[in-house]
Structure formats: C-alpha cells, structure tokens
Amino acid sequence: MRARPDLIEHLPRLRRYARALTGEAARADDLVQDTLERALAKLDLWQPGTDLRAWLFTLMHNLFLNQIRAHRPPDSALDEALDIPVSGGQMEALGARDIHAALARLPEPQREVMLLVGLEQFSYDEAARILGVPLGTVMSRLSRARERMRQMLAGEPVVQLKVVK
C-alpha cells in the first residue's frame, strides 16, 4: 500500500508560478488544472521520497511548452535562437515597477528560468531538472533574462550581451 500524496498543499505555489508565467489569471488556473490532472494520471510514476513539488513543476513546464508550441509556427524554434534583440518599437522604457510587462517580453525559456529561480527559489540544479536542460543552459538563460530585464526596467536599449567568464 502506498500513501497517496496530497497535492493541495502545492496548489498556492503552482498558481503563483502559473500566474507569473502566463500573465493571465484564467489561463494560469487552466494550466494548474491541467497539471493536476496529469499528475493524478501519472502519480504512480512519481518516486516517493523525491521532491513532489519539483515533479509537479516539471509537469507544468511540459504542458506549458506544449501550449506555446501549439500556438507557434512549426519552423520557429523555442531555444536560444529566438533570443534576438527586440525591435525598437517594443523597447520604449518601462516603468521601473512594470515587472509584468517586462516578464511578458522575455522569451518563454528565459522567463521560466527567471521565475523558477527568482520567484520559486529552486536551486539551479533543480531548475535544470525541471526544465530538462543542462545546468549551463540554466545559467546562460538566467543571465540573459536578468540582463534583458534590467535593461527593460531601466529603459535601456538591449545590446548584445558580453558574458563575463
């Protein structure tokens, strides 16, 4: 007999992440609901003793990825290739507090890392596992996200980033 974990205690944080990720309350709760349904369907695949919260976030990430893939032309990749500087028209200065607008302008892969680390406080390793990417990718996305956001919030034009290594 295996104890069935309770998903309720994870709901508030799943909702917070989904809200920040999608920027819309209704769409966020739909994503949470899809995540719960998938979690219950796959619960026997979850390893007891491992972090249930991280597992739920992994499911949510996969669902989110499917959603944005479905709404995007097949030839446009989701990876860093999309990370081209935004055009001038989109780069009017944002108010320093306009975190919502700044988040919405981040490419999704960067937004996810930004939120998993900065809001949900997962470690870099956990974020890498949730997203299914190498640690180095998490670090480079985090770096791009934070720099891009810093420039948006400061109203600076986005320039090619130099990486201090």
Binding site: R4, R13, E37
Partner: protein, 265 residues
C-alpha cells in the same frame, strides 16, 4: 586576494547559494567593481519585484474546482487498479477530509446522498483550518466589516454565530468560490487551538424551492465531523475535527442563532 569572480558567482550571490567563504570573496569583488555591484543590485531588486507582484497569489482563496481537481481519484484505466489500492492517509498539512472523494464512501453514506455543498464545506475546512499564517482573510478584530463584506458578497444578511459559551471564539472569515457562487466561511478557535468552520452558501437560483428541509444531518469523513442543515435557500455546514458530541453542541447553538435569520427572517 580575490579569485576572479565570474558571472555565475554573481547570480549565485543574488540567489544566496554561495558558500560563506565564496560569498565573502564575491562581496570583496563587488566592493572593487561598481559596475558588477550595480548589476547585482538590479538583479536582487528584480527578485524582490517578482515577490511583490506575485506573492499575493499565495493568499488567494483556492478556487474550489482546483481543490477538487487536486483530490480527484485517478480514473484512467491503466492506473485504475493501482489507484484503487492506494491508501488515503493524513499527510502533512491537509490530509484529512479527502475521504469525501475517496473510496471510503463504501463505509459512509454514498456521496450522491450528501449535499454537494457539504463536501465542499469539508474540503474547505481541510484546506484552511491548518493554516498558521493566513487561516482567514479578514480577522475577527474587524468582525463588523467581515460580516458586512461576506453578507454583501453572498447576497444576504449573514450573521456569525457566537460560540463563546462553548469556548470557541471567532477567528475571522474568508470568501470562497462555490459552484453556485460566493460562499462564506467563518472560522472559530478554542483555547487549545482546535478549529471549527462554518460554511454558508446560497443555493443557485431556481434550486431554492427544493430545499425546504431544516433537519439536522451529520456525516463523518476521515475525522472531519460535518453537521449541516438547509434553511430555505441557504445551506450551512459546521466542520471540525473534534468530538461529535462537541460539534453537535456547536451546531445546535449555530442552528438556534441562525435559523430564520438569513434571508431576512
């Protein structure tokens, strides 16, 4: 003497994931490199802005459809046999109450015979009564505001029953979303921290006429005692994890104080 600090170190500094020794080295680096210090400061304030913008979601009432979704039995066939074998146990914060959606209905009255709002009431009790920091949205200190706010949202003049003689004081209340619209939850606590919740919901328009019963009913599910009754178009459910005799007394007091009150009786 500072090792060269790289970009990853600066992020790890912001995210608090450096060892103490490395953190001191990075601090020394930042003191000598104002441009990096400026970026680090900007990143830290981004984290703060994220929390400021989204932490309020943590305290929002959980939509009842999500609470239900989180507690639904997995029904897909490949997992059905396994699911049926899964034991429901009290786990962490809110382990109880789930019996209402579990296969425990074999020993208890089947769900179909229980008013749906009673199940929602027990779930809402299970979700919010263990909360330490935010058990209620509006505290009892603002009782007048609480009652008038909930009354306005639920659509009738509500009253929070007084259980002081039975040792329970009003802790506060919150607004929830039920299937038929807004629902009020009042929470009470006694001297040793036991909590009971009173859930008040108005029937959906058109359903009220069916609900003339005012009899007192009792269900027990995984340790949550629920006494409920229907008064015209209002359903009341008192839930708690205390002895049935105690909660019956509380329910009796609530019934006496409330019957004929809601809806302008």
């Amino acid at each position: 003497m500072t090792d060269r600090v790289n970009e990853d170190d600066l992020h790890a500094f912001v995210d608090g994931s450096l060892s103490d020794a490395r953190r001191l080295e990075v601090e020394a680096w930042l003191a000598a490199h104002p441009a990096d210090a400026g970026r680090v400061q900007a990143w830290a304030s981004q984290n703060q802005s994220l929390h400021a913008a989204f932490d309020s979601v943590l305290n929002e009432p959980l939509p009842i459809h999500l609470v239900r979704a989180a507690r639904r039995q997995p029904a897909r066939t490949p997992y059905k046999a396994i699911a049926a074998a899964l034991a429901f146990v009290a786990s962490g914060l809110v382990g109880y109450g789930i019996g209402l959606v579990s296969d425990r209905s074999a020993v208890n009255p089947p769900l179909a015979s229980t008013q749906p709002f009673v199940r929602d009431a027990a779930i809402a009790h299970a979700v919010f009564s263990p909360e330490v920091r935010h058990p209620v949205e509006v505290e009892a200190a603002h009782a007048e505001h609480l009652v008038s706010w909930l009354s306005k949202r639920v659509g009738t003049e509500l009253k929070a029953p007084d259980f002081a003689v039975l040792g329970f004081d009003l802790l506060g209340g919150r607004l929830l979303t039920g299937e038929s619209g807004p629902v009020a939850q009042f929470m009470y606590q006694d001297g040793i921290g036991r909590r009971v919740t009173l859930y008040v919901r108005r029937a959906a328009a058109g359903k009220a006429a069916e609900n003339h019963e005012t009899s007192f009913r009792h269900v027990t599910e995984n340790g949550v005692e629920v006494f409920y009754w229907i008064d015209r178009d209002f359903g009341y459910a008192l839930s708690g994890q205390i002895a049935p005799a105690d909660i019956r007394k509380l329910a009796g007091a609530a019934y006496t104080q409330l019957v004929g009150h809601a809806g302008g009786g």
